[in-house]
């Protein structure tokens, strides 16, 4: 009788012991699981926070891409974007960031991230009046909100400092106070984008740059600021080191010239790219350079009533305030002391003119195209240019931005092949002040033998070659002038509220 009783008691103790051990083990495992789960959440919440930044920066890139598209294909730009009015409501108006705020939600960025969550960006672009620069160009503000869903449920994890940094929206969006369908994290970037003009470098040769004299010097100044110029003019004591030269090609011949700036080539140094005779380049030599070339088209304008068809004996044309006066000539051929004067306002206030030349420009002797003070001229030339002697007169207080010379792209030949490059030759000019943008033209600038030729401006050509003794001073104000060729981000701020 006693034996079965004893057996039963012993069996009960074992069960109790097993249960107790099981409970202890479960508690240990549960604690471990909680610790692990917390760490897991911290890592995933941090990863989602990082993904939100990538999405926000992607949103900035999407907006920037549309701005660039507006330069080359305006009809295709801003497709899918919406205009929002001052009340925040979407309207049916065509999206135009200059006129009003426009917005876009990026389905392009929908992607699967850590834990099967999604990321996307909400983008707004506008043009505040406070973002208009001294040259009158409008800059743009892009506000991009990167949204990334957070895996791991609606539980917070990590230290207080983590939560202060990442500001997870587990139930409500902390920016809008609206409920969220699933936990998310948002990051907002405000980027300011400025237009970049065609005249970004002192010398830019798409195919090549050839400097043939060690007495050539490039440097820079800024006619807008007194600490970088005197009365808007170049002085050696205030010279800056932004006299950059560059080519998209692999080879650049610096010719021992004094380049107070950088010399850049396309391609990679280790793969054959090279700057030859670069011993006097102060800003260093760089590879992997590439600059997108803006197609140059002559504006489609109606010439002013009564303006001549061609210029061969010298004449006077009037620039106008506000919108530019337009003139179309089949050619400009001046010799001896004939002058084509672009007349401005008597008091020197700003006036504007556009001259389209469908044929060649030829100036020799003391002949010149002369600008009055305060006149801004853009010349679009479809033919070749040959300047000897006086050439262009762009007197003080005019700056290089006052005289812009564009080589218009030529259509393909009838057999579909590429048209041969045009030619712009400027020789014997003592004091050229202006800027040339002709990416499909061979630009040749001939200086004197012993006398220094002071050139203020910027030259972009298919090829650019300088010979003789001359100094080219790049006016940094040119970077904000000329036709808009690109946009770039100049300010970046993450709004971490």
């Amino acid at each position: 009788m006693q034996t079965p009783f004893l057996r039963a008691r012993q069996s009960g103790t074992a069960l109790l012991l097993t249960l107790m051990i099981g409970i202890v083990l479960a508690a240990v495992a549960g604690t471990g699981f909680r610790v692990l789960q917390n760490r897991y959440r911290v890592v995933h919440q941090a990863a989602s926070w990082q993904e939100a930044l990538l999405s926000a920066e992607g949103g900035v890139d999407i907006a920037l891409n549309q701005m660039r598209l507006s330069l080359t294909d305006p009809t295709a730009a801003w497709a899918g974007w919406n205009t929002i009015d001052e009340n925040g409501e979407t309207t049916g108006a065509s999206p135009n960031p200059t006129a009003s705020t426009i917005k876009f939600s990026s389905t392009e960025l929908f992607r699967t991230g850590e834990g099967g969550t999604q990321s996307y960006a909400k983008i707004q672009v506008d043009a505040p009046p406070s973002l208009r620069d001294e040259a009158g160009e409008q800059w743009y503000r892009i506000r991009s909100t990167g949204v990334s869903q957070v895996p791991g449920g609606t539980e917070v994890a990590g230290d207080k400092a983590d939560l202060r940094l990442r500001k997870l929206d587990l139930l409500t969006d902390h920016r809008t106070q609206e409920a969220v369908s699933s936990p998310q994290v948002t990051r907002v970037i405000e980027a300011i984008v400025k237009p970049v003009g065609t005249f970004r470098l002192t010398l830019m040769g798409v195919k090549s740059i050839n400097l043939n004299n060690h007495n050539i010097r490039t440097d820079s100044f800024d006619s807008r600021y007194e600490d970088k110029s005197t009365n808007g003019q170049y002085v050696l004591s205030k010279a800056q080191e932004n006299g950059h030269i560059a080519t998209n090609a692999k080879m650049l011949y610096a010719g021992g010239a004094q380049i107070h700036g950088t010399a850049s080539v396309g391609g990679v140094f280790t793969e054959g790219s090279e700057v030859l005779k670069s011993d006097k380049v102060t800003g260093g030599i760089r590879d992997q350079f590439y600059q997108e070339i803006l197609p140059v088209q002559a504006p489609n304008v109606t010439p002013e009533i009564g303006s001549p068809d061609r210029i061969s004996t010298g004449t006077i044309i009037d620039a106008s305030a506000g919108s530019p006066a337009n003139f179309v000539f089949s050619s400009v051929r001046l010799s001896n002391d004939e002058v084509l004067r672009v007349k401005g306002a008597a008091d020197g206030t700003k006036t504007y003119a556009q001259i389209i030349v469908t044929g060649d420009v030829s100036l020799s002797g003391k002949s010149a195209i002369a600008l009055d003070p305060g006149v801004f001229v853009r010349v679009f030339v479809k033919g070749d240019t040959d300047i000897t002697g006086q050439g262009f007169t762009n007197p003080m207080p005019n700056r290089a931005t006052n005289f812009q010379y564009y080589g218009v792209d030529r259509p393909p030949l009838s057999d579909g092949s590429e048209a041969p490059p045009g030619r712009i030759k400027i020789a014997g000019n003592g004091a050229f002040t202006g800027a040339v943008y002709a990416p499909n033209y061979d630009v040749e600038i001939k200086g004197g033998g012993n006398d220094n030729s002071d050139i203020v401006g910027s030259f972009t050509g298919r090829t650019v070659s300088l010979t003789g003794v001359q100094q080219v001073h790049y006016d940094e104000a040119l970077a904000d002038g000329g036709l808009i060729a690109d946009y770039k981000v100049v300010s970046w701020f993450e709004d971490d509220r």
């Binding site: 505040p128 406070s130 400092a161 983590d162 940094l165 405000e190 300010s491 970046w492 709004d495 509220r497």
Partner: protein
Amino acid sequence: MRRSFRTWQAGITLVEVMIAGATSSVLAGGMLLALNTVQRSFRASEHYVNRQTEQLRVTDYMALDLRRALTVTTVDERLRMTIPEYYHIANDGQKTPREPTISRGQVDYGSAPISIAYYKEGDKIYREEAGTRLTLAEDVEDMAIDYEDLDDVIEVRVNFSPKYQFSGATAGDRAATTAYTRVLLRNKRRN
């Protein structure tokens, strides 16, 4: 009855008790040692994971500020920078973004950039903004931070001393814990 008594006597000889006691002692000692080792390992692992979380937090804070910095210096083991005065702060503490303006070809928010510094003092790592300190990590005496200024990129390296070795961590062990971030300064430097 006799057989049963004999059998009971055979189970409790002195020798058997001594052997059982010795075996039990060895097993108990081994278990205690194992438990202690597991506990040390758990603590070392927890320390390691905590430090990694703190590394992530510290580098994330720094990266956020560096991306929007206008000026950066890395002297005296401190990372100092200025960021735009982006916010207008109302009396109730409400922050609203300022309208950007252009001055000398640069974008400005407000007129006085905000100073920010990161540094380690004692066993804490701080972020100091306009004189107000925020503790980013506590009890991190073994943590070390260094910075490298690569002009348009700043590299931040954070490491600590792991506790897995009885004899203490070597320089190699510490180096193996290094977490680093390279941040491209989005704004053109003004210093």
